[in-house]
Symmetry: C2
Subunit: 196 residues, 2 copies
DNA sequence: CGATTCTTTGAAAACAGTCAATCTGTGTGG
DNA sequence: CCACACAGATTGACTGTTTTCAAAGAATCG
């Protein structure tokens, strides 16, 4: 499992062998079975995870009691309630395993230590943070400027792997529409593709 | 103008007198007249500004040619196309002064220098970044989980000062609805308040 | 196979968007 | 100081989209 992560660290962060060794020493492997929770509402997110197998979703419950998916994570993605992680305060997010999954788990202390001692790691995370910021901006822009159908098309194009592994109703809530609407949007899109 | 900013730096960042002096030395005051642009699409956002007077909006143009407000900024707020600032790539945002405004202007080089040399400044920005992340999450959640009316109510409650200084049609695009819909939503809200 | 979960469909109601017209307030020039 | 122009806000009628609720079909898992 660590080798998978090591490859990522070399490619994305340019970590050296000795730096990898430092990371390895503090890496903790963790398995989470399908439908189990890595985090629940009201708890402090005291960790950051790197997904090596399977998939997760991060969601919040709305006023209406519905679950609204904020984020998905599959292999090579990081997962945490970053808001709670950064503030140290209890969060309002759930993190649920959508498949039998595995991740590499870092406690807050370990994480801070890695950031502080491995400049390449620090740089890599800063780059990811910037990408993340950009993704948030784009998602907000998408939400306020694009109709449901366009949002769906973009989602499929952007995350083709995700799309085939995740229940549609979760994608619907991610996009801000109901499962029924997504179903109809998909039907229309299929018809358009068939006739063109 | 700088004194206004200095107060902020002391309150939010706990900067010392000597640290303030370092900031003062590299601070550049800038005036922007109403309806003028601080940044336009396709340009690199090579600065970060701290608003000391007036107001700005950051917006993008949609596929449909409409302007979609991503963010507002008034006194004590930071303004920049952070995505472009962090990547150094040309961005797709406009920053427009909504009133005759003034800001303290930092070039990328100056900014990096401040971050590198003033730990209190660095910490303050890290805290702001975390707050910002949280705000993004909340806005996304709001967009996908709340009806237009609730989004409007929350906006008014959250930014009472903003609300009274900014044209409604910009608030509408910020919320992801048309100006007409916002007008009707407001009418309904007013009627509810009148009868209760 | 049966049970559960997920997806689709239909019909009605609620909601939001478009277009065009009107209203309101503000500021400018005569 | 008035009249006018202009930007912003509202309204009405209409259209289109999305939600809701209920039911029926797939698909999946034990």
């Amino acid at each position: 499992m660590f080798e998978f992560f090591a490859k990522y660290l070399v490619e994305k962060g340019g970590l050296t062998e000795s730096e990898l060794e430092l990371v390895r020493q503090v890496s903790v492997s963790k398995k989470v079975r399908k439908n189990n929770y890595l985090l629940e509402e009201g708890k402090v997110s005291n960790f950051i995870g790197f997904v090596t197998k399977g998939s997760f979703r991060l969601f919040r419950k709305g006023e209406d009691g519905q679950e609204y998916t904020m984020k998905f994570a599959i292999e090579n993605w990081w997962i945490s309630d970053f808001t709670s992680f950064m503030s140290g305060e209890p969060g309002n997010c759930y993190i649920e395993a959508l498949e039998n999954s595995e991740l590499i788990w870092f406690s807050r202390e370990t994480w801070d230590h890695l950031i502080a001692t491995i400049p390449n790691f620090h740089r890599m995370i800063d780059k990811l943070t910037a990408k993340n910021f950009e993704a948030h901006q784009n998602r907000i822009f998408s939400n306020i400027s694009e109709p449901a159908e366009t949002r769906y098309d973009n989602f499929v194009n952007k995350y083709p792997t995700l799309y085939s592994r995740i229940p549609l109703y979760m994608i619907a809530s991610f996009l801000g529409i109901t499962r029924e609407t997504l179903s109809r949007v998909r039907k229309q899109a299929a018809q358009r593709n068939a006739t063109s």
